[in-house]
């Protein structure tokens, strides 16, 4: 799994790549929680380079969303596509999260 974070004017953009599965989800959770613990509360996750997600990955995203909601933060997802989008739709996650067509649109929607 690839995990890269960069700070933009509107929030933190996290680029995920490769596989978010039962092996890699703990690392994802650890790294994003470090950012939240450091005070960041507005996040865009860019899925363009993520090839694969399982229920373990979905669980990690749900944990992030609940953590940010409890802290009054925001979370949006950009470029959810292909098989990952199919998993989102089949699990009902597509309607539970804010999905945007691009990172630019997601950053603009953070308020």
């Amino acid at each position: 799994m690839e995990f890269q974070a960069r700070k933009e004017a509107g929030g933190v953009v996290v680029v995920l790549g490769g596989r978010l599965d039962a092996v890699t989800a703990p690392e994802y959770e650890r790294r994003i929680h470090e950012l939240v613990d450091g005070g960041d509360a507005r996040f865009v996750i860019d899925f363009e380079r993520l090839d694969y997600i399982s229920s373990a990955g979905l669980r990690g995203l749900l944990v992030t969303a609940r953590l940010l909601k409890a802290k009054g933060g925001q979370l949006r997802f950009a470029n959810v596509q292909g098989g990952v989008r199919a998993v989102f739709e089949m699990s009902g996650f597509g309607s539970m999260f804010q999905l945007d067509e691009s990172v630019t649109a997601a950053l603009a929607a953070l308020s």
Binding site: S55, K69, A86, G92
Partner: protein, 146 residues
């Protein structure tokens, strides 16, 4: 491709090796795109279930068999844990809001959605979950049943 079997210790870190084995079988068979994605997802969900629940009293094994049968790719995952049919669990609620959503049961739900069929049997003290994935073949309608 006829049939190929690998055995792994039922630990989550072995998912990467198991995925490599099944992906190679899928490539050899000619399963690609979303069908291959769904196959690897079903493998993970079934394998991780075995790692989490099949052997509460100690280490155990997961046996993975890939078989080509006509246009069907058949994935069997077996364990020697206590009798357990994951298909007997209720379907998860996929409509709740963020704070009330349960993730338990989502793995089996995704297996059902991505596979063309899934079945469970208990055989010689083994739990065997069988998942079938058919290759999309344009214009080759072999059944008119919905």
């Amino acid at each position: 491709m006829k049939s190929d079997t690998r055995c792994y210790a039922a630990r989550v870190e072995n998912l990467t090796a198991a995925t490599g084995f099944v992906a190679a079988c899928a490539d050899q068979f000619g399963l690609a795109g979303l069908a291959k994605f769904g196959l690897l997802l079903a493998l993970e969900e079934a394998f991780v279930n075995i790692c989490s629940y099949a052997y509460p009293e100690g280490p155990g094994l997961a046996e993975i068999t890939c078989t080509g049968d006509g246009d069907a790719f058949v994935l069997d995952i077996a364990d020697r844990g206590r009798p357990f049919d994951a298909l007997s669990l209720p379907e998860p609620d996929t409509t709740g809001d963020l704070m009330h959503r349960a993730v338990g049961g989502l793995g089996i739900h995704l297996i059902r959605r991505f596979s063309d069929s899934v079945s469970y049997r208990r055989d010689n003290d083994r739990n065997i979950l069988r998942m079938v994935f058919r290759t999309p073949r344009g214009g080759d309608v072999t059944s008119t049943q919905c």
